[in-house]
Symmetry: C2
Subunit: 343 residues, 2 copies
């Protein structure tokens, strides 16, 4: 197996900088669109055969160094008892937002294998099909990010409902976070047991908080999840979006790899994080619209700066956009493999 | 006149930390809603008597230390030849986005007094009415932020059109930025000549760029505008939203005061900015939903940390939200005046 990615996660020596892309299985690929033309998004997430197929697409087409389970961070939220729908325009919709103690009480900690069997079936299919290729990354949303969706009922501009609950009913908020943390731990443990060789925790909305609120309301829960999951023995990646203002905290979260967004120079992040954490990132997803030579220049610059860290995994600073030309993605992966080769 | 705000802008000694709020004249105030119940938003912007009235409301109601002209950053964009509308749901809509060289060519540099007389009339009314009260802040959008609205046709999630133009047709983008910079300079110069005693340049979308793109595509233009406007002799405030990753650049922009958002600890910002810049900010607008004692604690913490800067002007880290309870805003202003008093 090409275990470059796993070795990079552990800060071990590698022949070249490994690369994968957040949302690498998705709408920018015509091969994915072909599958989606017959099934809606949630049905695809819940069909192990098809979910495994689309997970494999970028591995075969782009030659990335890791596969990541095709799923959605809100799958376990549905398993906790909320009604989940996806609208083409608005994205995820949770029609009965959680904004009271009684709403939190109603949420169940899922029996993960029972309630989401398709996730683990997908992983088991993938482990067979990926043999001798690349490692499989499992994933979940971070407790705070999941909480925002549950409280807002979807995405949000100002996250006012989330912050109102945090600020005015902080015991209810903490109660919700505890339930979410337990769910995330059991969900990811089960993914690892099913075969996932690394896991990533997505904290898409970590960066909407003032640092003191991140520290109080989000950090303790994701740190707890990471510390529990560390016992499983696989590398843990924590992606904290819009992280520039909270790097001081992120340094202490206990993960193996910190995924950073594009709004900070990777050199500045590495300086702040020190030598104990592997860094993943951080090309602006929109940079994939650059002409090829300019794109290569940016890849080289990030690779070069990434050398200063304990280890570096190349990735985007956020999920790939559906409009991205696949040939540019291929050029990016090739550039990482070419210019990221160690002497 | 209470010139505490102006002295703080210049880094001079003050008896207490002055405070004003971004969007302090606006929808959270019932007195503003009363005016708006008869006129739409754009009509209000263009009616000097009414615009002056709503500008004065927070001065009278809250006792803030500065007034800020009631207007919208897109007023000069309309004067450059674009059709501007405001939709309750989507916010500003510019129906023919600028995405080509010919579209940029069509834009005119406004004859500001001729094309936007209402702005300067409003300022002249305000200077009379504010006499012996507080200074008046004029404002404009930063060239980059205005460019995003013109290219996207409104607000955006990923700013893909903006970045595509930057990346694929960078000469067209630079051409647009030059025109915008000239417009901003003449617009703000005229505001100062009409009587504005300080100006703020709003760069709401500065933080969507990777630092190397901010440096190349946004920074040179706002720096040029600031350097030209400095000749007018009034304090210049530059508000760069989501600034944590670009503080290294912001340090060099040449303003008197840097306005920062809430996603960075003000101490971290001051450390990075050094002793030559006055800092403005940075309470999370959602913190205005905290119970009064908790709100006071946060105000105190920011005031205390702000002491480390050359000077500090208390403000929110972004515009006040329409849902904000006015009594909490009053409590915040009072807390700043109480706890920001120098021994």
């Amino acid at each position: 197996m090409n275990d470059t990615f796993l070795r990079a996660c552990r800060g071990e020596e590698v022949e070249y900088t490994p690369v994968w892309l957040m949302r690498q299985a998705g709408r920018y690929l015509p091969e994915y669109q072909a599958v989606r033309s017959n099934v809606d998004f949630l049905t695809l997430c819940k069909n192990p055969k098809l979910a495994a197929d689309v997970t494999l697409q970028p591995v075969d087409i782009l030659g990335v160094d890791a596969a990541i389970l095709f799923s959605d961070i809100l799958i376990p939220v549905e398993a906790m008892g909320m009604r989940l729908e996806f609208s083409e325009k608005e994205g995820p919709v949770l029609s009965e937002p959680v904004r009271s103690k009684s709403a939190v009480e109603k949420l169940t900690i899922p029996d993960v294998e029972e309630d989401m069997p398709f996730v683990f079936d997908t992983i088991r299919i993938l482990i067979k099909e990926l043999e001798n290729k690349v490692p499989l990354i499992g994933f979940a949303g971070a407790p705070f990010t999941l909480a925002t969706y549950m409280i807002e009922g979807g995405t949000s501009k100002n996250f006012l409902h989330t912050k109102k609950l945090m600020f005015q009913y902080n015991q209810v908020f903490h109660y919700l976070m505890e339930k979410l943390t337990d769910s995330v731990i059991s969900y990811l443990s089960a993914q690892i047991k099913a075969g996932a060789q690394a896991i990533q925790i997505f904290d898409t909305w970590a960066g909407i908080l003032a640092p003191l609120d991140y520290k109080k309301f989000a950090f303790p829960y994701v740190r707890k999840a990471i510390s529990e999951l560390k016992k499983e023995g696989v590398p843990i990646i924590y992606f904290a979006n819009n992280c520039a203002g909270i790097l001081g905290e992120l340094k202490k979260v206990g993960d193996d790899v910190l995924g950073i967004d594009w709004r900070i120079d990777i050199s500045d992040a590495i300086k702040k994080l020190g030598k104990k954490i592997v860094v993943q990132g951080n090309l602006d997803p929109c940079a994939l619209f650059l002409p090829k030579e300019k794109l290569e220049e940016r890849v080289k610059e990030i690779l070069w700066k990434g050398e200063a860290a304990k280890g570096h995994i190349f990735n985007l600073g956020h999920g790939i956009l559906p409009q991205t030309p696949p040939e540019n993605v291929a050029a990016m992966v090739e550039a990482v493999h070419t210019y990221g080769r160690k002497k």
